[in-house]
Each structure stands twice: as C-alpha cells, then as structure tokens.
Symmetry: D2
Subunit: 388 residues, 4 copies
C-alpha cells in the first residue's frame, strides 16, 4: 500500500489583496504542489482579510483578524489540521516578532527578508530559533535560480580558477520619482525606518546583491568602502548605494545597488572572474550563464533538464527542457520545494538545506550596518562584523 | 458574509511519473490556486499510477486504473466531491476518444494538443461538444503568453499598419539523432502514425507556429506551398517542414518548423510587418516584444504589471513587475486561469474566452492535411479547407 | 635595397557626390593603403564630376566626362601613370558594357553587382574576360566578412556534420513606402527594369542571401520554389521574395529577401545545421559566430586577431584584437585587399583568389531567372540552370 | 575652375611592422582619403624601419632612422612636399618629447595617449603647444564613436533629465596571465613605469573610461575613492582598478577598469541615469544606444545616416546607412577627419574641434594621480587637481 504524501499545511501573515509579494509567495508555493493553504491573517483591514481569505478558498473560521490570534487558534487545532508552516509577508518590522512567536509556538517559519529590523532583534530571533525544534527560511529568492547554483558549482570546482574579481549590481529605477509621496504603498513603508530598518535601497536590494556575491563566490565579504545617496527631497532612507569590497580569500569587487536608475527594471547581475575564466549571470535572462575563458571561445550554458554539462544542484531546480523559460516564481518555488523536503524529511537543525536561513539574514544585517557606518564615517574601509 | 471561492476539482488522464507534460500541467494549474487535484488515471502501469497518485497526495480510491473507470466512478460521486474538469495529457490518439466521453459524462475538458488524430475524429468530437453543455480547451500554451496578446492587440489596432509579411519559425534540434531508436519514449510514440497522427514535426510544433501566426496576424492562412523532410533512416513521420503561405487579407509569409536544427532549443519566433512597422517576439525571451517602425527608433516593450503602454489583455496575463521573468508555466497557467474563470462564471457556449478551443484544433488539422497533401503532390499551392 | 611596394592606380566610373556606394568603395579601398585614386568619371553631370574629382584631390585632367573617354585617355598614358584597376559603381545596366570595354582595354575590373543586366550580357562579358589577361571581381561584400569564412571553414571541416538545413534571410524595410515616388534616386533606378534588370528585391539583395548560402554551405542550390511580391502601386519590380530550395548535396532550405519589412535595417542572416550542430551569423553583429552543438553548450566565436580557435582564412581578414568591432567597410576592404594581392602577384586566370568573380555573377543570374520563372509558372520546383 | 583638395601629408613615428596601433592609425587615416603618408621613422630597428616604409610605398629617402632626423629633414623640404602632420604611436615615454619638438618644428601633432608620462612633462608640453601655432590631438578613439556623441547630446539637451548616476566600466582580460613574462611586447613596456608612466591599467584603459564618463555626462569628476590591484607576481603596475566618484554637478558614479577579467575582450561601457531616464552604450556593439525612460518603453537608437532622430554631431560621424556596422577604425577615422578639417580650415587655437586635445590629457593625468594617491593613502576621498 502506498503512503500518500500529504500536503504541508501553510498559513500566511500578510499578503492580502493588493499586496504583490504575498501573492507571489502563494503562487510559488502552489507551483509544485507541496503545500495547502489552510489559514491566514492577510491584512489588518478586517474586510480585506476576509475577502482575501474567501477568494483563496478559506472558510471564515481560518481567516484571523491578527497573527497573534492565528498562532493561538492554530496551535489549539488537532495536529492533523493545524498549520505547519507560517509564511511571513508583512512589512519588515513585523518579521522578527512574528517569526519568534511562531517558532516558539511550534510552527516552521518562512519569512520575507530582512529577517529583522536590526541586529539586536535578529540575534534574539536566532536565540529563539536555536531553542526551538523548527525550521526557519528566508526568501532570498535569487538564490533559488538554478543557474546561480550552476555558477557557484563552477566556482567551487575551479572552472574559472582562483577568484580575483566580483562585480555585482542591482540597478532599479522605480524610486526615481517620489512614488511614496504619490501614494505608492510599498514605497511608503519602505521609507519609514521604523518599518523598514536602517537601510533603504541598501537593505531592500543591496542585500540581494550582497548575498548573491557571497553565495556564488563562496567566500565572505570582509571589508567595504561605501557611499549611499538620497535623491528625493524628504526621502528618509537611502535610494542608492555603491561600494568597493574585499573578500576573505583575496578577491576584490564592486557592488552597486540603486533604485534611481531611471528606466531600469530588475537586472540584478553578477560577474565573477578567476585566473582562468569568468562567469556572468543576469536575473532578467536567468536561463543563460555566460562562461568566458582564456583558453576557449565564450560559452553560454543554458538552463534545461537533461543538459549533461549542468550540475545536479542546478538541474534539480529546473522543471522544463531547455528553451522553455522559467523565471522568478520558479526560483522562489525552488526555495519552497527545499523547505518542503526539509519538513517532510524532518531535517535536524534549523536550516532547510538549499534554503537561505538565519545566518544569511545575519550576514545581510552586518552588511547594512557596515555600509551605513562606512558612509557616515571618514574611514576608507569598514569591516563587516560577523555575529555569532 | 463572504462567499468562499471554492477550488475547481480537477482530474488527470496521463501524466504519471516520468511524463514531462503532465507535470507541467499540474504546475501550471497549481500556480494561481484555482484548482484542486482530486483524482487521476495517471498511467496504464498500475504501479506507476498508484505511485503517482500517492506522491500527489491522492488517496488510492481516487487513483483509477483507467480513464473509463474514472469517468464512471467520478460521475457517481456526490456533486460537491466529484471531478469537474478533466485534463488529458496522454499520447495523441487518445485525446479525442477520452474528450468525447468526458464531455458526454458531464465533465469540462482541457486537452493537450492535437484535439484529435485526424479530421473525422475531430469533427465527431466537435459534434459531441456542441451537444453537451461543457467547456473544451486546447493547450496551445504559446497563446497564453502576455506579449503575444500585446502583439495581437497592436496588429489589430493598426500600430504596424496593414499586414504584409509574417515570418514564423520553430526550429528545434532534439530529433537530430535517432532518439526514438535510443529509447526516448516521447520521441517513440511521436513517430507512430497511429499514436501521433499524420504529421510528425508538422503536427507537433508546426501547428504551434501556425496558430501563433493566425493569432497574431488576426487573419487565417488560406494557401500553402510546403516541403517536408525526414532525416533519420527508419523514421516514419516528418521531422522538418518549411512552407510559403498566403493569408486571407493579402499578407504572405513563411513558416519553418524543424526538429533537426541541431543545437536549437525551443525558439519559436514570429515577425510580422505592416506598412507602418513590424513586431518581433521570441518564446525563449518572452518578456520582450520588439517594435520597429518607419517613423521612430526601435522600441522594446517589456512585460510587467503596471506598464501603462501595455494593453489590458496582456497585463492581466502577468503576475509580476517588469524585470521579474515569467515563462512557459506562467503562459500555460494563463490558459488555466481563463478556463477557471469560464467555469466559475458558467460561460455559455463551449469555448472558454481566452483559451484556444475546438476551432483552433480544426484549423491545425486543416493545416497538417494541407501541408502533407501539398508536399506529396505536384501543385504549387494547396488551399486549407476550413471545416464547419 | 628594399623594393618599394607601389600603390595600385585606381579609377572610378560612377560614385560622384551623393552616391553612397561609390564613396563606400573608396573608403574600403583606402583602408589598407593598397590603392591610389588617379582618375574618374564620377558622374554624367559635368559639374558633379569635376567637383567630385577635385574634392578627392584629382587634377581636372584626370576627371573625365564619360567612361569611354576615360578608358581611351588612360590607355594612352605612360604605363607607370595610367590607371590599372577600374572600379564600376554605376547603375546596373552599365556594369557589363563598361566592364567589357575596360577588360578589352587592358584594365582590371572590380564591379558592383550584378555583373550584368541579363544572362546574354553576362555570358558575353565572360567571353571577353576569358580572352583578356585581366582580373575581374564582383563586390559581393558580405563574402568579405571574416566570420563568414570561419563559418564556411567549419562547415567544410565537418564541425557541424553533414549539412541538412540552411536558412538565409535578408529583410530590409527601406522600400516599405513609395520612396522612388518621393524622389529617392537609388530607389528610382532600381525600379526601372532597363537599368536594374529583371529582378527588384530578388536581384538587389536576394542574390546576396543566395551567394552567402552557397558560399557557407559550400554546395550549390539546385531547385527553388519561389514567390515574389510587389507592395506599392506602380512599382514595377518585386520588393519581396521568399522561397524554398534544395541543394546539391541533399540539404534543403529557405531563403527570404524583402525590402518591405518595415523598420528592418540590414540584418542579413544565415543559419546552417548539420547532423552534429549548427552555425548562425548575422551581418548586423558580424563579429559573433554562434556555434550550437548536440554535445556541448552553445559557443560564441568572436572575431579578433590572435584567437587560436579561428581559422587562417578568417584571421587574415581581421585587423584588430577581439572586442574592437570591424564592420561593412572592413569586409569590403578585404575584397580589395585580395584583389590587390592578385594584381601584385600577377595571378594567372581571371579570378582574384578570395574575391567573388564572374561565376558568382552567373550563379546569381541563374538564381534571379529561376525565381522569376518559378513565381510566374505553375510548377512547384524550378531548376537553376548553370551556365558554362 | 575647381580648387583641388590636396591630401594632407602625414608622417609617423613608431608603428613599424608588428605594431598594432600604428597600423590602426594608418588604416583610420586612410579610410576617408584626407591624408597621404609621406614619411616615417617606424622603428628603431633599421631593418624593420626600411621594410615598413617600403611596404607602405615610401621611398627609402623618406624612411628615417630616428624621429630627430625626420623632423630636421622634413623641415628642410619645400613647403609643398614636407610632412604637415606627425602621428606619434611610440611607447608612452616618448609621446611628450616628440610632440614638443614636432610642434616647435612647425608640425601638427596627433599623438597616441597618454599625452605624457607625468604631470610635469604634460604641463611643459602644453606650454610648448601654446607658444606654437600648430594643432594638437590625442587619440581618445572612443570619443570618436557617433553614438557617444548622440548620448552626450541627449544628456545636454535634458532627454534623461538631471544626471544622477554614471556607471562606466572597462573590463579586459588580456593581462590575466603573465603575458609580459611570456614575451608579449606590448604588455612588456606597459609594465615599465619609465616607459608607461605611473599607472598600469588605470592609465592604459582607466583613462578611456574616465574621459568617456566626463564627455557623456558633460561634467567633470571631482572626487574619487579608489582601489588598485596587482594580480601577477612581479608585475610592477596595477592591472585592476575600481573607484567611486563624485561629479561637479552632483552626480555620483562608479568606474571599473581591469585587465584581469579573464575572457573579456574590450567591452567599454557607460550607463548614465538622470531623473527622467537613462542611456547605455557599449563599445562592442557601438551602433546601438539604449534609451530607457520613466514614461515610455525602452528604445534602441541605431546608428546610420538618414535617421531623423539622431543629432547632427552623430550623423556626420557616420558613413553608412543603418544596419551596415561601423567600428573602431571608423571611430578613429572620425578623429582624423576632424583633425583634417581643422588643418584645412586653419582653425585658430591649438585644438581641433571634435578631437580630444591637451586638456583631455591633463584631466586624465589628474585622474591617474588622484587614483594612485587615494589608493595609497588613508583618506576616503581624493580631489582631482585640475591643472591650468
């Protein structure tokens, strides 16, 4: 007799109607069929909350007015009914408080980034996580792209030789105007330090560029020299950042993150060069990984199941044959897939293999703090302080 | 009190473990959360069938050994439990028989293409459909891409003027070798006329190119002049096709479909030129639509919600802001989304708006027949016979 | 004592002020320093002729009112002063008459294409050439691109295996409107059969696509099935052509040439597929040659001196290291360079190695005639008649 | 009677057989027919010198053993025979000494960059220039590209609004290995400070990136924060540089120049963003200028005569219709063309309009010095000192 693989019961905080990222999480989670949405506290607006839940097929009884009630109510349900995984897609300042309580209440947590508003909060969350027996994941979606894993593998196996240079950039244009002042809700809370954290652009997208660089180069950034900018009168947080950096194994690099590159969409891009060759990957065309070499013509490795020259870590993150584009939701679905596997396999520890965890959050926080400190101070270089 | 939107209960014929397209359908259907998989006859291999169902979270009671039993058993279930929509992802020769019986049994049908093996079968299916009160859809996935809708809209509103030229091409390379002889299951049945139909490449991908051309140009192809080829000894069906064509409103064009373009992946591409400008779209980079013009520099319209220059039909088929790639599964999910809307809204007639239906199947069949007839005969031009 | 390499003395017929192609020839000839302009009959407009010559640094005595006088006067000059090479850049109908007389008068000839207006004229020219001891070259500029030679070499050495498919296209947009009616001089004479020949688009650019296909595939096209079009009221000659073709060694293909693809510039492109891989080259980005393969990732071979993976025939047609673009004038300069070498080395026979000659002209004429005959007739296929 | 436009008589120092850049200069100068090579001191190797001259068609009497003799001998020739313009294509340390003496001797000078080895030398050269009545030009070839002028024009006319961000990069890979140690002559002298100057990569290509940024943004860089690197044991000068910068009108930016980006060819690239839009240009595809905007879809402006949307300054630097690629030699020929016009028109002052002059050299020197100083010191920012 076959054992039926049950779906993992999932609840949401945030992501009511009109919220982009919450919907993206549900789509990503739905793609591979590992999850079943069972409850939510989608919005603090009671009407939006109920409407959102109803539209998603949830009974009113599982649409909670706030996350505190949700945690309590779900905990009280029979084990085979209650939520197993909580997805947090609220503004930033709620990430850590909700995650801490959810972990303590016995729920796995998959949280939008950043993990917390500041370092203190983040360390507290980590302590809670360590004392729980639950898993914690962070939605660094770009680390779910298969060709990012392929790049990392090629770096680790020496295909490009010893890494010398890393250039990572993330130019967006959507804050070129005062969109917050014009009513854009997402731009609005992102510019409130008490909701967004210390960093604006540096936190919102700089951390994506940062974690991508560390992930692909497979070595930490140790020192940075940064400059931040604000380009709209009245804007509180940075909308632009650029920095030089030095990595642990001797590579140097440049990181650019900006939200005032007018007209740019979302072309996160990394180039990494060793003494034998280089790699280039660009999120807007994620199926292609360019490999340059000193000894042979440029190659373009293309995503697609069944390509024998792709590594296993990349291939198992693909669904389709070459030439059938997969994109952002598929990348996020890869994080959900790995999270599902970890839950089902009752992985020990607090990290789901393949899913960015609390330590990626800590690195990102150290990065934001160092960037701001360096920008404000006179010193040329500032070390990233790695927290325990 | 809110009315909960229930998920539509969906069953599968075909798509057991190892079958690419069945899994893609489930992923596409899962993406936007409109459907719930409730049953299946995934494989004629009983073990595969049970394993597939269990892995998908189905109880053994809803994993049926064959589709005939499934139709009967599901029909016998209470209305609030039984399957509403049947998805058909079997080899081609079963599409029409299963669809006919499913429609007759009161189920909506979403079928992989082709709709049937030959014209007689297709006309019979259409008759069944007309006498039922159910909806029928055909998985012409490429017609689900948002920028294809944008292109069609620009053609229809005269942005490029009166259409003169259409060039559509679909070069693949996967049949460059005798992969069927080497055990590739998908290549195997595709080369059996009794399972695949009269056309090889012309049916498998030529029809995609054909329907894309008619869809974007918004006019039918009337005459073709074709040549087909076979490039592997022992291969029964064509693996390569090229043709000239004439359209109803005076445009002429070229259609290329080949599966022996070694090294090519899946670059279905259309270019269409009018007396004012031209458009170009390529499936491997589906987010970009190139617009050339006699009066202004080349523009690239990029996919993404919130771009004011995109039409409503395109925008509502997108999920993400510009720069966040969406791909093949999202395009297929758009067909599922429109099918779900039609079911929920109890659309009258047999076509779900936005979803290719039986007439697209008929056009494709006329195309295959004309191409083969023209190839075999001496006449330069052969008319496509439009069936009622 | 070193022997000084003298420059080759060159004269022009045509190419007065305002003529695009004549200037391009002078620039191409000037690039590598092999030639010295010594005389010309640049225009039948006496003023333009004198002005053009003066602007080019010629004394009035070497600016002739017509080509007949030029041939006679130059012939009468001392051997170390008189023109050695005549470049013909007039409208088409003058190519053969001037070339014949120039060859007979003892001058080498480098002619714009086509070699002649029709087959009779061309055969007569060939007879004259055979009875002379001079060299004759035809400005099929696209055959001067280094990566075209690289592609041909890879085909000849079996890198892509046995050739199965050739797709060549040349879509332009500049005749989308009635530019001749609006006073465009180049469009004007091109639409006069008595000046342009039997073919419009098929002759003007179709022959470029045709000769590129034969050159790269290294086999002749034997049969074609064609359709031609005219899209402007009152236009006499075709502005659009498409055809299927069969080659001598079994390959099949498609050729598209059009001048009504609104917004297109000059993207002549060839793709060629064998049983092991395929190649793609596009004139608008001439430094890149894409190589796809069944057994390895896609490669992009890039132009540039010193790339060990490029063949000698390609490398010696480059001037600069990789990454320093070379373009159309450099390609034409390669024809001039090979012509100069042949003159200096007193090559026997009538063809300058590396330079398209009279037989390329004959192939092109057979192509034009077959295309027109096929278009007008009922037969599906028309053979290209190869003239002696 | 027409006045014949005489060619400008040109001599070379450097550029004997085997020297890449000298040949490129001759090709560029030859392209548009403005110049006639009359003499040279091509190599200090007497044999190479004579061979080079003979191959170029020069009599032995005009092939001089050294530049000192050349200046003296040419000066002694009749005015209608002697060299008018001296082109300097030697290693860097000779640029200023030769230029100074040539200007003093009454010759116009077109020099490879850098103008001098160090600031003192450069200021001395400028003094000589000011006291002469001759013209001086510097081969900043990338400033000769038409679409660079188009970009500058669009910036100056406010198309992208107030400039906020400039990102300029120049990654090469050719020094990834110890090519100097392996006998590469060009790499060899470039690593000798006494021949090359204080900067390695920062001088060789960093100055190209720098001058491109200032030219397109139309404002000077005022402050930089830089890091330099050396990646080969024994290499004396930097092979890699990255910096943050601040411009005079408030824009900030990043400049990357590296010669250890293994596999990269020559992709000098600039992106510039204002409050309304952005521009992107890349030397490896110089015919395209990408224009992004907040208010309309991305546009690609393509090079080509006759495009009404291109500015006059760009159009007059093009030779061919759109779709006929022009490249590096054409860009350099544009500098030569403007230099020829200035000579013929007897422009007053010491700069040829359109040609980078001594002040571009001074800016570059200030840039190199500031970069090195900042790299060596502790201060975060270093001001570029603008010399008189």
């Amino acid at each position: 007799m076959n054992v039926v693989t049950p779906k993992i019961r999932m609840g949401f905080v945030g992501g009511g109607e009109g919220a982009f990222i919450g919907k993206a999480h549900r789509q990503a989670a739905g793609l591979d069929g590992h999850f079943e949405l069972v409850c939510g506290a989608f919005s603090r607006d009671a009407r939006n909350n109920q409407d959102s839940g109803a539209a998603l097929g949830l009974p009113a009884s599982r649409c909670y007015n706030d996350w505190q009630h949700m945690l309590a109510a779900e905990r009280a349900l029979p084990a085979d009914q209650r939520m197993e995984l909580l997805v947090i897609v609220t503004p930033n300042h709620l990430h850590a408080p909700i995650a801490s309580q959810a972990l303590s209440a016995g729920f796995h947590v998959f949280s939008e980034k950043p993990a917390a508003l500041n370092l203190a909060e983040l360390l507290a969350l980590k302590a809670v996580l360590k004392s729980s027996d639950r898993l914690y994941g962070l939605a660094h979606t770009y680390l779910g792209y298969p060709m990012v894993w392929q790049a990392r593998k090629m770096v680790r196996t020496g295909v490009i030789g010893a890494v010398r240079k890393v250039m990572v950039e993330y130019p967006q244009g959507w804050l070129s105007r005062d969109v917050a002042g014009q009513g854009n809700k997402q731009a609005g809370w992102r510019d409130q330090p008490e909701q967004s954290g210390l960093g604006g652009c540096i936190g919102d997208i700089g951390t994506h560029a940062f974690s991508l660089a560390e992930f692909v180069a497979d070595q930490p950034i140790e020192q940075i020299c940064a400059t931040l900018g604000v380009h709209i009168a009245g804007r509180q947080l940075d909308d632009d950042a650029a920095m030089l950096f030095m990595m642990a194994a001797g590579a140097t690099g440049v990181l650019i993150a900006s939200q005032v590159c007018a007209g740019e969409e979302n072309p996160l891009k990394i180039r990494i060069y060793g003494d034998k060759g280089g790699l280039e990957w660009r999120q807007e065309e994620p199926s292609s990984l360019i490999h340059r070499s000193l000894d042979q013509p440029m190659r373009i490795l293309r995503s697609g199941v069944g390509q024998p020259w792709l590594c296993e870590a990349a291939t198992r993150r693909m669904r389709l044959p070459a030439g059938h584009p997969e994109g952002y939701l598929e990348a996020m679905a890869n994080l959900y897939g790995d999270f599902a596997s970890a839950i089902r396999n009752q992985v020990e520890g607090h990290d789901a293999p393949g899913v960015p965890g609390i330590d990626v959050g800590l690195r990102g926080m150290a990065f934001i703090e160092a960037a701001i400190a360096n920008h404000r101070g006179d010193a040329k270089w500032t070390a990233l302080v790695c927290h325990p």
